[in-house]
Structure formats: structure tokens, C-alpha cells
């Protein structure tokens, strides 16, 4: 009877099964896995099934950072298996919670180990020393694991260096339900082999043998051939016996259901302004003159999946909360890297990050949120960054570069020393176009040059100081860019907020009517009534607290919506905007 304990570690592949950018199809106790190594070395072990339509991810494409499904091009991030892009809806950021099931993985003794719910660590094996072993070719066979283990106890072989002989003594050093250790001796030579039997299914197994030593060159080949021949003979016998025995029913792994909100047609859902993640400042360095960079690593577990354009809230030791864009390229999922510019008129946020926060400090951050999503269906994408506005665009450009899509990256700064993250921008190669020392007037002329030649299916992404964005948006409009092709993100809302009005807000889905008084925002009023609403910057710049207007006339005071969106009157930023009419009905 097969021990189907889900808690026991089993080998599911050999390390050599994961060559550069390959996806390996593995199976354990009836469950299939897509196993792939990212370029950063991380071994991903995932349910072998795209969450969208169930297509095997083992036929997907490993681009070194992400795994792309063959059917609809959905992209899943290294480490987290979170979906980062759904090409059918290029304007939307996928709900962050679309995450494939991942399984624990450890590389040891030249094998990749996994289990459904492993307990403890991969056991130490007496006599095997990491780095010195030789993993044999995996021998798949149509026989149940227990029968294979019992066949292996009678395995006979020659020690390394005495392959020509035929008189070795073989002693059984130990065995259990899924492993057998044997030692062969002949005239002073001795070799230990440990066989791990991988239960693929109730009636199929793989023999994964590891020798305690593996010389190089011709001798190595000879050893591999020696065991291959003998194990192949063992296979023939074991399969013949298994065929004669009654066939056990195949195992049926349970596929987890997706969460209820994912089963419905997706509405972007985010969470409140909550600092749910603890990170350590793993590294702090000067990314440019006046710009500090921080590498934030999770205290435990993995960081959530991010998309290019996403930002996090950083909760600082002094109690302030600030938003910073994630600069990482796709698949760089072991940490988040942010850049913080020291503002001359800092209210204490950037000053705290620059002067108080040090390497080794703990910080609380929010999950990443993406209100500045990147379309990847443009024939050409133009990025225009001003100063620290480079951060979200850097993440975007790396994503396009990784997919070989066409883009150019214009980066305005005062001087060379102020160009941030040179090690990242250097990777953009020819696409990077620095523009140094421009004054407001000359900037406008340069922007005209950059934005001339609009063609359908081109998109521009702008991030930088307010006046530069205003100029760029105006110039783009003059040059025939439709509003839908011009995407922007402001650092902050410099509008003076007029919160003197009072009005009524009806929340259609919640069946609640609230009175918003002068001096209070819609967001605050809703929260007081116990209605949770996601928010982040709370000054009308980031787009997190967007709500849909069903009825009434909004009084827009944000810098997130574009003119067309404002005029349509169907969207409102609840943290700063208010009502011109006596009553607003929101789809909440």
C-alpha cells in the first residue's frame, strides 16, 4: 500500500532537469508540477495548471523572470506565481490575488525536493556530502514505489574505479519506505549509492540514485552507463512483476478552488491603508545625488506580486506614510527597491527616510497597488521621466524590454549626477535618452520633439514634477495624442483643496446614505460609518480610492483623472473630491 503522506519530502526532479529557461514537467503522488529555474537561480515548483483555463504550465515559456502561459499569454512572476499581466485586457492591472499554487522546493544532493505540505527539512543522508555527489539518470518505471524499493534492495553494482570487475560485495546500509542505501566493495574500492524512489502515482515511480562520489570526464560517463544498464534491467523485471499484480487505482490530487472573488468577473479590489507587511532594509545606498535607494526584504515568507507601475505605502518610524514606486524589473521578486528623493521642503517624510532609516531597520509597508498600469499592446511606447519620476517608469521599461517590445526612455534631470539607478538604466541600452540641464522653456521644445509623430497604437507614460507633466500633457494634446494614449502619475496634488461644501452621499450597493460635512472628506465620512475603502496617498494623486459615480455631479479636486474622465462625471477620488450637486450616488 502506497504511503501517500503529503508531509514527506520526495525528490521530483534532478537539478540537471532544470537547464537554462526550461520548464520541467514533474509529478508526485498523482499531482503534476511545472518546475522551472529563474535566471536568478530560484527554483519554482507550481501546480501545473494556468488558473485561467487549466492549460499545463509545463508547456509554457520560461523567460528567465516570469512564466508565460502558451494559451493566452498570462504572465506569472518568479517566486510568488502571482499573475502580473493579462494581455486580453492591457489597460487593467490584474487582481493581485490571481496567484497560482506554489509548493516548497529545496535543492539537495543534486535533486530537487518537494512535498504538498512538508514537515521539517529535507533529511540529511549519512554518507552523502553536498557538492561531491553524482546524481544518476532518473529511471521512470511502471511499478508502485514499494515494489521498486524492494527490488532495489537486491541491486548489485561495482564500486567506482572497479567497473570492469564483477565480484563486488554489496551490503545493504539501510532502507525505508522510499529509499535504499547500498555500498559496494571490491579490493579497496568502495562506493555508496542511495536510491530515492519518487512515487509519481499509485503505479508509477522514478528511481533517483545518488552516488557519494562522482569523478569527472570519461570515468564519470562510464559510471553513469554502468548504473544505467543495471537499473534498466531492474526496471524490466520490476515492470513485469507489477504488470502481473493487480493495478491500484490512480491517485486523484485535489485541485484547490479559486477564491470566490476571482470566480466572478473581476472588479479591481484592493485593501485599506494597511501596513500588513514587515520588511527589513537590506541595503541603503545613494542612487543619485539627493536620491536614496532602499532594498526592502521580507522578514518572513515572500513579498506579494507586483506589477510595473505599482507603488507601496511606507509607514515610517515618525508615523508618516508615504508612497513610493517599485523600481524592480519583472521576476525580481526577492525584494522591493524604491528610490526616495530628499525634498527641500520635506514635511518629514523624505527627511526621515534619508536621515533616520538605516540598513537593518524594520519598516511596515502596504501590499503593492497598481493604479498606473502599463499597457503592453502598443506598437511603440514612450516614457518621459522627470527627476525622481523615473521610478515607476523604470519598472515599466524593464517589463517591455523583457518582452522585446518597442519603447524609448526619455529621462530629464539637472545633471549626470542626478540620474538615478544608473545600473538599471544602463540595461535599457539605446532606448535610454538622458536630457540634462533643460530649463522650463527648452524642456517644452524637447517634449515637442519627443512627442511628435503620433501614430495609432502608440502610448506615452509621464511621471515627473507637476509643471513638467502639465506641459507634456498639453503638448501631447496639441500634437494629436488622444487622452486615452497619455498616461501620467503625479507625485503629489498641489491643488488647493476646497472642502467647504456639504452634501449627501448615497452608497447604492451598501444601501447607506451619509452626510458629508464641511472639513470632512467622503472617505473619512465613509470610514466613520464603518465602510472600508482602500486608500493610499489620500491627497488625490495615486488613484487608489477611486469610486464609480452613478448619479450627481462630482467636484473634482484630484490630479489622477484625465480630462475626459473628469468630464464623463462617472468617476471620483473619494479622498479629496466632493459634490457640486446636493447628492452623489456612488457604486459602493
Amino acid at each position: 500500500m502506497l504511503d501517500t503522506a503529503k508531509t514527506r519530502w520526495h525528490p521530483i526532479a534532478a537539478s540537471y532537469d532544470l537547464p537554462f529557461r526550461h520548464v520541467f514537467h514533474a509529478q508526485l503522488l498523482g499531482r503534476e508540477f511545472a518546475v522551472w529555474r529563474a535566471d536568478d537561480g530560484y527554483v519554482n515548483i507550481w501546480e501545473n495548471r494556468c488558473l485561467h483555463r487549466g492549460v499545463r504550465l509545463s508547456i509554457g515559456i520560461n523567460d528567465g523572470r516570469e512564466l508565460k502561459c502558451q494559451y493566452h499569454g498570462w504572465r506569472y512572476s518568479n517566486r510568488t506565481a502571482g499573475c502580473t499581466y493579462i494581455p486580453a485586457h492591457p489597460a487593467d492591472a490584474p487582481a493581485r490575488t490571481i496567484t497560482n499554487r506554489t509548493f516548497a522546493g529545496v535543492e539537495r544532493y543534486g535533486l530537487v525536493w518537494s512535498a504538498e505540505e512538508p514537515h521539517g527539512r529535507v533529511p540529511d543522508v549519512a554518507g552523502l556530502r553536498e557538492g561531491e555527489q553524482l546524481a544518476l539518470r532518473g529511471i521512470p518505471l511502471n511499478a508502485p514505489a514499494d515494489a521498486v524499493v524492494s527490488a532495489l534492495t537486491g541491486y548489485r553494482f561495482q564500486p567506482n574505479g572497479r567497473l570492469q570487475g564483477n565480484t563486488a560485495n554489496v551490503s545493504l546500509e539501510g532502507s525505508d519506505t522510499f529509499s535504499v542505501a547500498l555500498r559496494a566493495y571490491e579490493e579497496g574500492a568502495e562506493t555508496l549509492v542511495v536510491f530515492f524512489v519518487q512515487p509519481v502515482d499509485s503505479s508509477r515511480s522514478v528511481i533517483r540514485g545518488v552516488l557519494d562520489a562522482g569523478p569527472q570526464g570519461a570515468e564519470r560517463l562510464a559510471i553513469l552507463r554502468h548504473h544505467n544498464e543495471r537499473l534498466s534491467k531492474l526496471r524490466e523485471i520490476a515492470e513485469r512483476e507489477a504488470q502481473a499484480a493487480p493495478q491500484p487505482a490512480p491517485l486523484e490530487p485535489v485541485i484547490e478552488r479559486v477564491s470566490p472573488e476571482l470566480a466572478e468577473m473581476p472588479e479591481m479590489t484592493a485593501h485599506g491603508r494597511k501596513a500588513t507587511i514587515r520588511v527589513t532594509v537590506a541595503r541603503k545606498w545613494l542612487a543619485a545625488d539627493g536620491i536614496a535607494a532602499f532594498e526592502l526584504r521580507p522578514v518572513q515568507g515572500l513579498l506579494p506580486t507586483f506589477q510595473p507601475g505599482a507603488h507601496i505605502d511606507v509607514h515610517m518610524p515618525n508615523g508618516l506614510v508615504r508612497q513610493y514606486s517599485i523600481t524592480n524589473g519583472p521576476g525580481e521578486s526577492d525584494s522591493y527597491v524604491i528610490g526616495v528623493k530628499l525634498e527641500r521642503d520635506s514635511m518629514g517624510g523624505s527627511l526621515c527616510m534619508h536621515e533616520t532609516v538605516r540598513e537593518g531597520d524594520l519598516l511596515a509597508i502596504s501590499e503593492p497597488r497598481n493604479n498606473f498600469p502599463l499597457r503592453r499592446d502598443a506598437v511603440r511606447t514612450i516614457f518621459v521621466a522627470g527627476g525622481i519620476g523615473v521610478t515607476p517608469l523604470l519598472a515599466m521599461a524593464q517589463a517591455l524590454k523583457n518582452q522585446n517590445l518597442d519603447y524609448e526612455f526619455h529621462y530629464f534631470a539637472q545633471n549626470q549626477e542626478q540620474l538615478a539607478f544608473p545600473e538599471k538604466t544602463a540595461l535599457l541600452g539605446e532606448a535610454l535618452k538622458p536630457h540634462l540641464g533643460f530649463l522650463p522653456e527648452t524642456t517644452a521644445a524637447k517634449l515637442k520633439e519627443i512627442l511628435s509623430g503620433y501614430r495609432p497604437d502608440m502610448h506615452v507614460y509621464l511621471c515627473g514634477p507637476g509643471p513638467m507633466l502639465e506641459a507634456a500633457r498639453r503638448i501631447a494634446a496639441d500634437l494629436g495624442w488622444p487622452e486615452t494614449a497619455v498616461h501620467f502619475e503625479y507625485f503629489k496634488n498641489t491643488n488647493t483643496i476646497d472642502d467647504s461644501s456639504s452634501f449627501e452621499v448615497a452608497l447604492a450597493r451598501s444601501c447607506v446614505t451619509l452626510q458629508v460635512t464641511a472639513g470632512k472628506t467622503i472617505l473619512e465620512t465613509m470610514r466613520e460609518a464603518g465602510i472600508d475603502m482602500p486608500s493610499s496617498c489620500e491627497q488625490g494623486a495615486c488613484g487608489t480610492c477611486l469610486a464609480t459615480v452613478i448619479e450627481g455631479e462630482p467636484d473634482h479636486q484630484d490630479v489622477y483623472l484625465n480630462d475626459a474622465e473628469r468630464k464623463s462625471g462617472t468617476k471620483i477620488m473619494t479622498c479629496v473630491s466632493r459634490a457640486r450637486s446636493a447628492r452623489l450616488v456612488l457604486d459602493l
Binding site: R53, H72, G73, R257, V258, M265, P266, A378
Partner: protein, 301 residues
């Protein structure tokens, strides 16, 4: 009658396609599999067909004598195919009015065996999002990957799903053009295992080509897909027209055979739909409402 292996009365009562009439040598017994039953059929060369549950006295290859046949299954010849049913089928098959238009070419592009359930294959037929990835540079091309909003409705009086205003960027929109452009599609699902698509004709802008897929369920996880073409084309030889469709289907086949589970899960939480999958969502609901259980994993109730 001995009980059938398929227990799904809805599916038993449907008409199912068996073969393209034009490809059946007249006067000899043919054999195939439908819903796990061996089924034999023969034609008389005059457009009539007979179908029966296979029996030892009339094996494949035998000359067929219509007089010898008792206890035949219902048989129908429609849209160039022989259809039968293991239950009590409706009088009429679904209607494709364009089939009667005299200036159209009518062909069976191919009959292909696929290791997948019929509903998975229907969903693939309804799906546009995969064009740039699976039919690269033919029906779609990156970076033009967007599935624009379209409309889906369940036509109550005809009991069929209709998706309209479907548009997708095609790199070479017609034989005449070198530029890409949006191409319009209309999809109909008038039968749980059959679907019809209408696509702007490259030769006549005012009319639509008709491409249909009629699936023969051999069992819950294996089908034979019959692809019908009813197109406006005076230029190309049959084999050219067929080859195009065979290429497209050949690209879908490995994807379909790598879907897991092979039967279509009707539990809304089994997979993750997006807006582009509106028609598939409607199709899954429709199958649930009809009570179809064959080739699907019914939602737990």
C-alpha cells in the same frame, strides 16, 4: 434497447455528427464511436444515410443492403454531414440559413480526433484572446492582444448563445491587404457541442463567411471535430481553403490536449474568468441550466 453508457439524457437526445457525407464511400458499412457506443452507418450515394448500433452481421467494409436493416437509429443528413442520435432527437437541427446560398463553397475542412472533452473545444472555438499566442501572425499578433468589449446574449426563443460585436486585430486582415485591421466575428452556440462563427468575408465586405465546428463526442474526454466551411471564394482550390483551416486547428490541438482537467468544470470557482471570457461564462451557465453532465464536471449543488 440496452442501456447506454452515457447516462446524460440531454446529450442522448441531441443530434450528433458522424462523418462528412462527401467522404463516405457509398454502399459500404462504416464504423465509428459515439458516446462510448460503436455505431455503424452507410449511405446510398443519393444523399440518404442509415445509422445503427454496430452489430456482428453488418461489420465495417461490408456491402450495405438497406433491406437488412432493422432497429435503425435516427439519421439525418444536414450541412454536409451524417447525424444521428441515441435518444429522441428534435425534428429539426439548428438552422444555418447561409448554407443554402447558391454562390457559397461548402466543404468539410477536416475531421480531426482530439483528446479533450467537447465543451473544452467549444470554449476554445469561442475564444479570441488566444489568437496572438496560438495563431501567431495568422489570426492575431502581439502586441495587439486586447479583447474589446462585446455582447453576449442567450436567445430564449432559439435556445442558443449569441456573441456579437466581437472584434479582434488580425495582422493580414484579408488576402488583398497587407495592413492589419480589426476583423468582426459573430459566434453562435446553438447546440452544446456545436458552434458557428461568422467572419467578414475578404471578397465581399457586405457578407460573412461561415465556419462551424460540429463535435462528435466519442467519450467524455475524446472527440472527433468536424469543421464545416461555407465561404465565398471563387479563386482557391479546395485543398488551399482546407489547409488554412487545418493549420489553425493544428495549432489549437496541442493546447486543448494539455488542458487539465479535460472535462469542462462548471463550478464557477474552478477557473478564473476575465471579461474577455463573457461568452465562455454564458456557455458554462447554459450547460449548467440545461443539466448537461457529459463532458463536464458539474458544479457541486
Amino acid at each position: 434497447m440496452t442501456p447506454t453508457k452515457c447516462q446524460d439524457q440531454v446529450v442522448l437526445d441531441l443530434w450528433h455528427p458522424l462523418a462528412a457525407l462527401a467522404e463516405v464511400p457509398a454502399g459500404f458499412v462504416q464504423e465509428t464511436v459515439l458516446l462510448e457506443e460503436r455505431v455503424s452507418y452507410a449511405t446510398d450515394g443519393g444523399g440518404n444515410a442509415a445509422v445503427w448500433l454496430s452489430r456482428p452481421d453488418l461489420v465495417a467494409g461490408c456491402p450495405f443492403e438497406p433491406g437488412a436493416l432493422t432497429r435503425a437509429l435516427p439519421a439525418k443528413v444536414a450541412y454536409g454531414y451524417i447525424w444521428t442520435s441515441l435518444g429522441t432527437p428534435p425534428t429539426e437541427l439548428f438552422f444555418i440559413p447561409e448554407y443554402a446560398e447558391p454562390d457559397r463553397r461548402r466543404l468539410n475542412a477536416a475531421t480531426v480526433g482530439v483528446n479533450v472533452s467537447a465543451p473544452r473545444a467549444i470554449e476554445n472555438f469561442l475564444d479570441m484572446g488566444h489568437f496572438p499566442y496560438v495563431h501567431t501572425d495568422i489570426l492575431g499578433a502581439e502586441p495587439h492582444t486586447e479583447v474589446k468589449e462585446y455582447d453576449v446574449e442567450l436567445s430564449v426563443e432559439r435556445d442558443e448563445i449569441v456573441a456579437t460585436r466581437c472584434r479582434f486585430f488580425q495582422p493580414k486582415a484579408s488576402t488583398a491587404s497587407t495592413e492589419g485591421a480589426d476583423v468582426e466575428y459573430i459566434y453562435r452556440v446553438p447546440h452544446p457541442y456545436c458552434s458557428i462563427l461568422y467572419k467578414s468575408s475578404p471578397v465581399d465586405e457586405t457578407r460573412l463567411d461561415v465556419i462551424a465546428v460540429f463535435l462528435q463526442p466519442m467519450d467524455q474526454e475524446h472527440i472527433r471535430a468536424h469543421m464545416m466551411l461555407c465561404v465565398l471564394d471563387d479563386e482557391n482550390e479546395d485543398k488551399v481553403i482546407k489547409r488554412f483551416q487545418q493549420t489553425i486547428f493544428g495549432q489549437d490541438k496541442p493546447i486543448l490536449e494539455n488542458q487539465f482537467p479535460k472535462r469542462l468544470p462548471l463550478d464557477p470557482r474552478a477557473e478564473t474568468p476575465i471579461r474577455a471570457d463573457k461568452s465562455a461564462i454564458a456557455y458554462r451557465r447554459w450547460l449548467s441550466q440545461k443539466g448537461v453532465t457529459y463532458g463536464v464536471i458539474p458544479a457541486a449543488t
